[in-house]
Assembly symmetry: C2
Homo-oligomer: 601 residues x 2
């Protein structure tokens, strides 16, 4: 969600992006809200909220993912990066140390030869903001929120999300300790506003960004990230695969108020010029450390794509559709060897534990078509992800499990039920699922349907799908459409799960609708600008904003107006009318529906 | 679905509509299909299909709702209207007669005073096409498809839909006879291509059109109708409430290849200048006959809004949100009387039976917000609709039941289950339902989620919701977006219900996707034009149409390409590879997952 105010800072960063200027949001129109903070137990623990002011004097408080960019009191600058909110919390724990870190090499940005501009560089050259050294566990023991939770510690991060989710901090600690929730927070990403992913909490939404075969500028990716979080993205995955992959990620991380996820395999493949068979554990491990030192909060690891499973995809209609999955399958077959990710998984756990990088165990064999849904290959991999989940927990690494894909509605529930059983209720993180294959250009909708259902049944985070899925690279508008569609799916699921307080938002908007408080409707809407724009298309005049009807039916046909008149025409306050009508309805029922004496007679 | 060819005829009708010219669909690009016909048991029974020609030489046959407009061999002209396809079938039954019919009055078009241009007119003046007299039952006995089905007759209409749905004609007859399906086909609307609405058949989609407080031209409404059917609308409701309401409807009917539904109460209210309390049974009855003579195929009747139920809405968050419902509630309270629709229901049945107008029993007390879902008022009305359904059946009138509305996901199933039980499995026809209130401007999506779910569970037809819901009048683009969204929901439900043949469409598109047959993907897509446009945004060049990758991942990262290479790099035909891989996977399983010998070694 956002407003004119909300997007103004983003426009600072938008200069010269191919997408052009940010759509005019008629500054001054959306003045119906401000950024607020809920004070925690310590001065530096302030949880941001979106305070919507209604014309009836009431306030509605909504979850806010937009970061400091929407706080007019904070002067943000993408070249400086965000303030390291969590730094003192991390230092205070005393279990981490700064160290020189791995030198950044030209290959990290996809530059093969050592040009004058190439050669060794330090992070200052990569990012102009405050100089920083990477941080890691002082003694190799896990510095993860999972480890703290098991020890019974309620970290500031846990208190932060407890306030955000409106639950007891102890509930947060328990869910993390039990592995039913993750709080992705790399010690090298102190800029984030902590959030939690688990079925007992609000359903979260991830937005993917990243440059690709088609080049896009670093500024553009940073802008896409802030744009996505302003519309409600809870995490962002940087799936860049082209040039400047390291530098792009650094800029995104330093400016991101939400956890950042990646797929290290993509960068590793770049380092071997896209020749899957040339991948090695060493190159992959080095890439993971490179990204962990930068501050990546969670990493997709396709360690479940085992050699024996590859043949199971032979009869599939669409084979292997996961990039990571197909790369690992190619490697396995080329070498006739078991996956190096599977074989080195414990070593990988040790690395992730020392930075608190959260696992997102990838579903490399997810179905890419309705025909392939819930097949042997998919569930064989899921069982392996179950094994790996258990191992990761042993090493104190937070873990979530990725899910499909293309799945028809009647096969969706089996996915979440099986995952919850096999993976001991670890958070499920699904892409859609898409409920049909026939609507390219509308896959945000084919998948939004499946996403809402699987989230209702227990999926903790939804990876968005944009209208460009299967066709091309999402632009700014696609990112917005994808995020809004998935916020709808997530909130619909929160309602269906009966999440405490979820319905207050719907109730506030419906009250405004029934009472013709148009400005309040707009300000409470998931997308205030488009709602206002659609209304004004047919009734632009200001008076229409208070009119007791809209252009759909006109005054004569407005059911809500008639409905209100029915109540009013019998005199007295609405409360009295309601009393009276309710009384009458009781009388009527008592009289066995035989006789009815109308109101106010 | 449509293509460039498909829309060309519509553009004829588009001249001078405010929406302006039809978006360029790059004529010649979408040449991958043609209009075909399946020959029935008689020469004049030819069922239209959309034949998609794939580049691999195969053909895919899809359901087609676009009417003669997409047949280049037929020269359509909106001033002449469509050919009366069913006329001979109706005449041949010998149970109907032509008659003078009710004179068309100025008030029918909302013209109060008798101007020179006003006064009595005949249909010729209303519509320039072939002169016609209305038709009705010769002896007052029902001339409905229900009556014929009960008699064991398989009408040409039933054979037509049987071919369309790819089922036995006897199945169609049985479902209609049992009241589990309706075949809306007024004897005065011979132009339609018969279709069926019932849970054992493909899920259908209705699109609403109609001018309103905001004036829109007659041509524009006719164009919206053809536009909607070209994208896949199975029926269209004309909800006009403004001027020229009679004439607009006549033009729509004479040019519509799909059944047309209306809410007669809207026109009746116009005749009393919008003063609900001045409505009378006589005015309403006269309006119903007026519309039945024109050929309206189904009518929404809010006879379930009984006086005693109105107080049940008093404590609601959004009261009564159905226009018809609020009008009847206002009337009931103003007169302190039971609804004249409820009290005259049997007389109304007699009228509808003599034209074969199908009932769509309106849910005037549907919930207008999440808070009001599944409440006492809603279900009290539903029980009354059950009573009325039984009465309608006794009079041989085909009947479907309308459903909500705003309903959170966890309360949706109760709606369809209760309706099926109370209404003896009469077809359920729902608006969405919308699964959250917080996304005005995106209610096609909030409702598309609920629509897909309730259709999976047995709803027979879905009434679309456009992005303008709650905000304004849908324009041409909104109509398209609404129809496409609902075709997605309907098809997703057909898949989940395991409707025979439904998945062939998905399979054909997924095969094309995996084999990089981009043109086939576009031509099989629900919206070929937008799919092609999105693809070309990032890779416009023609070669990209055969490229073994797309702009999303580029050649190095295309999982499908890698997936195919995996199969090929071991030599032999794809079939052989699959054989080999499958063999190995068996061996592997047999070996207890201990050892794995790679393919082709």
């Amino acid at each position: 969600m956002t407003t004119a105010d909300a997007r103004t800072p983003a426009s600072k960063q938008n200069d010269g992006t191919p997408d052009g200027a940010i759509p005019d949001d008629g500054a001054g129109k959306s003045i119906g809200w401000h950024k607020g903070y809920v004070q925690g137990s310590r001065p530096d623990l302030r949880v941001p909220v979106r305070q919507v002011h209604l014309t009836n004097g009431k306030d509605v408080t909504l979850y806010d993912t937009s970061g400091p960019y929407t706080d007019p009191a904070i002067d943000t600058d993408v070249r400086r990066g965000l303030a390291p909110l969590r730094e003192n919390w991390i230092i205070a724990r005393g279990d981490t140390e700064e160290y020189a870190g791995r030198p950044v090499r030209p290959e990290d940005d996809g530059v093969k030869h050592t040009s004058p501009r190439g050669g060794l560089r330090n992070l200052d050259a990569v990012f102009p903001g405050r100089p920083r050294q990477p941080r890691r566990s002082r003694d190799g023991r896990p510095v993860t929120q999972l480890a703290y939770a098991r020890r019974g510690e309620i970290t500031p991060e846990m208190e932060y999300v407890a306030i955000r989710e409106n639950v007891e901090a102890e509930v947060v600690r328990e869910e993390i300790a039990a592995g039913r929730a993750v709080l992705p927070a790399n010690v090298n990403h102190p800029e984030i506003e902590p959030m939690i992913i688990g079925k007992r909490f609000l359903v979260k939404v991830n937005a993917n960004i990243g440059n690709s075969a088609v080049t896009s500028s670093i500024e553009e990716e940073v802008d896409k990230m802030t744009w996505a979080t302003q519309w409600g993205a809870d995490t962002v995955m940087d799936l860049s695969t082209g040039r400047n992959i390291h530098t792009t990620r650094e800029w995104v991380l330093r400016n991101s108020p939400v956890p950042i996820g990646t797929v290290p395999l993509y960068q590793a493949l770049e380092k071997v010029d896209g020749r899957a068979e040339e991948l090695t554990w060493e190159i992959y491990k080095d890439t993971v450390i490179e990204q962990a030192e930068q501050g990546v909060d969670y990493m997709t690891v396709h360690a479940g794509v085992r050699l024996p499973y590859v043949p199971l995809t032979a009869r599939r209609k669409t084979g292997i559709v996961s990039r990571g999955g197909s790369i690992m399958a190619a490697w396995c077959l080329a070498h006739h060897k078991e996956s190096f990710l599977y074989e080195h998984f414990e070593e990988l756990c040790e690395i992730l534990a020392t930075y608190d990088v959260t696992y997102s165990l990838g579903d490399g064999l997810r179905p890419g078509s309705i025909a392939d849904a819930n097949d042997e290959a998919q569930f064989a991999e899921l069982r392996t992800l179950g094994e790996l989940n258990t191992i990761a927990k042993r090493f104190g690494v937070q873990t979530m499990i990725e899910g499909p894909g293309h799945v028809p509605m009647h096969k969706i529930k089996e996915n979440i039920d099986l995952q919850q059983e096999i993976c001991e209720e670890a958070p499920f993180y699904t892409l859609g699922p898409l409920t049909t294959d026939v609507a390219p250009a509308y896959d945000h909708i084919t998948s939004g349907i499946g996403a809402a259902m699987i989230a209702w049944w227990g999926t903790a985070m939804l990876c968005y799908v944009t209208p460009k899925e299967h066709l091309g690279l999402p632009n700014r508008d696609d990112v917005k459409t994808g995020v809004i569609t998935y916020k709808i799916a997530a909130h619909a699921a929160d309602l269906a799960k009966g999440h405490p307080g979820a319905q207050e938002w719907d109730d506030a908007l419906s009250d405004a609708r029934f009472e013709f408080r148009w400005e309040d409707q707009f300000n409470l809407a998931l997308d205030p600008d488009t709602a206002r724009e659609f209304h004004d298309e047919t009734l632009p005049a200001e008076p229409a904003k208070t009119a007791h009807f809209c252009s759909m039916c006109g005054p004569k046909f407005c059911s809500m107006k008639i409905s209100q008149d029915i109540r009013r025409q019998h005199g007295g306050s609405q409360e009295e009318i309601e009393e009276g009508m309710a009384e009458k309805s009781k009388e009527f029922a008592a009289a066995g529906n035989r006789v009815y004496l109308p109101i106010a007679d």
